[in-house]
Symmetry: C2
């Protein structure tokens, strides 16, 4: 009489592929936004969270503490100051929504703006998480060519003109202007102004993702596109504490004009972002953010140099890349013969994890020989060993590199 | 030449109503899952978070700490022990997914199972957040009559038979068996077994929401429906730390058979739930959970008595209710003449916030004269004053109650 329940028969159509069972991090971990373990400011975090809980801990009894659904007000006020000092932006704390990582911010942007069949323009090579989210919603992606200064404005202009001529509405332009992911470039000021002019000309808003923007080696950067927007409402600006403080905290933010924020809040159905992280960050960042980030980027740049040295040693001229201006990743081009999806699979079996280029590309095939290597988390020895193993696998699978160091392979 | 950007023209169709600007909590706050402020175990929380960060703080550098996407493993292991000791359940830590509050768990259940036009059966009066989520997804709700022991099995049987006869597939049965929201009842064991038999007979899974289940006054309760399921896969079980420890933490959990969890993990796109809360809770709960909850429920029951006394004083026989067996809310029935949506609007203007019954009802009109009063957060004086103001407003608006205390009104 009993009917067996097969949940797979009950699942909604068009679900993503189920998650594989997690079996720990790979030994040589060149993927994900993980950061340098030793740089997590643990002692200062303990002081900060103890101080703020001692003062305000009883407010945990209410959803949203005493700050409402936008997030812990002292943290929003810190974000306002940070955006003013680092990005030249002038926003109110009431225009800042704290999110569970910048990914939730991007998710809310899409929830509010994107229906299946919509078009979004973005850098031809861009953040894989943004690409997969948009694809999952049935959004059409159009990749704008990039160069060493980021998105090319001549290409964007002709694409916008083409869409306008065809009566195809572009929902937004997604751009990572400061430490582009994966390219690592910083878009110069004149190009930012051009981008705003094109946004105005075609009435297409900009989503500016500044997830890595605080991590430039010299702690210099042009003002954010959002700060240069005379109209004041063309740009939705997204940022994060994951890369500057710690990714496991899951705290990011988004700022936009009030009707957009109000619509996002209505769609943010999680009852708020975790309070301890918000409280700790507000307490910690007010006095320590700048000092911490200055120290962190020195550590990250040393890791980048280690990675570049290892690639030079093991791949030589076979691996091409531009030195990034900040961040935690290097975007590498291998010879056309290499399919990095195959390379990633082979490497994974040897404990080396990397992002194959196609996952970071609006047109997957256009990046078949590219890969992204994240250097923030692995230690120097792991970087060197991992690259050595990768070169060996690449040679065995694709015949390149033909030399490593002074030694001919094969 | 510039085209103004009107985001409202760009919004996706069918968005929820934008959030109103937050203007602070109401003075007399009888809504929401807020808890008793003084009961938040602040000092122990500080010790717990300091200890765990001192020991493992550097793992914050990686997404998911060292535990993967299901959540911090020591917290999952505590949930396993809690479910065994309190609910009679036997689950593996690999079948527990930590979520950002039980609301994210419910959201994931619906994401995985529900498409527009699907049907879900639930108690006729049920959790407003679950109802609004399902409505937002275009799910058809069918309310099963309840009595003082929760969902009525005779009614459920005939509704399931009716749906089966019509070839209408029921996606799941949503039930809050232990401290029903809003009724406060506890479903007895025999009825739980009946529910499982019906689930088996019709092949319809059960979503068991035990959000308030740890808050029974006597700390006794029947085993969870999930524990009584011989087949072992008919029940998705949801719980939370919001009501026992603190709602601002945003930590809940869901357990189900592996394919369901794997599908939920694939849809949980937030990069994990906040790490500090998970770490602190695991550290704290292992030694303090039971003691804390025993103390908390004594405080809550005193507040319930205050509320019941105040209602008796101000409304007399005009307000009908059953004394709940635990939790933080009282489900009140007023005379038919009262529309609690109107009452809620009038009361809000006087600083008294309450949940009108229609928001907590599969059929809104069926609960037009009912309301939910949460007593966990307001202090005793606020409870008494708030009920006094409410009675006054109710009398002026609807003519009832006609007497308060020994004094005739009007």
């Amino acid at each position: 009489m009993a009917v067996d329940i097969e949940f797979s028969d009950l699942f909604r159509p068009e679900l993503p592929v189920p998650a594989a069972r997690w079996s720990g991090f790979p030994r040589y971990n060149f993927v994900g936004g993980h950061n340098d373990s030793a740089s997590v400011p643990v002692d200062d975090m303990i002081r900060a969270v103890s101080d703020v809980l001692g003062r305000e801990g009883h407010t945990l009894a209410t959803y949203g503490l005493q700050s409402g659904p936008l997030g812990y007000r002292p943290l929003r006020e810190f974000v306002v100051r940070k955006l003013a000092e680092r990005c030249g932006m002038s926003v109110s704390a009431d225009a800042v929504l704290i999110t569970s990582g910048s990914n939730q911010a991007l998710e809310l942007v899409n929830t509010v703006l994107c229906a299946p069949g919509d078009t979004v323009l973005l850098e031809e090579f861009s953040y894989g998480g943004a690409i997969s989210r948009l694809r999952g919603r049935g959004v059409t992606l159009a990749g704008v060519p990039i160069d060493s200064h980021g998105m090319r404005m001549d290409a964007l202009a002709s694409m916008l003109a083409d869409h306008a001529a065809r009566g195809s509405r572009v929902k937004y332009i997604y751009v990572i202007p400061t430490v582009q992911n994966p390219g690592g470039s910083v878009m110069p000021l004149d190009r930012r102004l051009d981008l705003l002019r094109l946004s105005a000309e075609y009435g297409v808003p900009i989503v500016e993702d500044e997830c890595y923007a605080d991590l430039t080696w010299d702690q210099q950067r042009p003002h954010a596109i959002a700060s240069l927007d005379g109209a004041g409402n063309r740009v939705i600006h997204v940022g994060s504490f994951s890369k500057t403080i710690a990714p496991a905290l899951r705290v990011g933010y988004v700022t936009a004009e009030q009707p957009v924020i109000a619509q996002m809040v209505a769609c943010k159905s999680d009852g708020g972002t975790g309070a301890l992280e918000q409280m700790m960050l507000a307490e910690y960042c007010n006095s320590r953010f700048d000092t911490h980030v200055e120290t962190l980027v020195r550590t990250l740049e040393v890791k980048l140099d280690t990675l570049i040295d290892a690639l030079g040693e093991e791949f030589g001229a076979t691996a091409e890349f531009e030195r990034p201006t900040g961040g935690i990743f290097l975007w590498v081009t291998l010879p056309d013969i290499v399919d990095t999806r195959v390379l990633a699979t082979e490497a994974a079996a040897a404990g080396v994890a990397l992002n194959p280029g196609p996952e970071w590309s609006a047109d997957p095939e256009a990046a078949r020989s590219r890969l992204r290597l994240c250097f923030g988390h692995p230690e120097a020895a792991e970087i060197r060993e991992g690259v050595c193993i990768l070169a060996d696998i690449c040679h065995r699978t694709f015949g390149v590199p033909v030399r490593s160091g002074n030694v001919a392979r094969g």
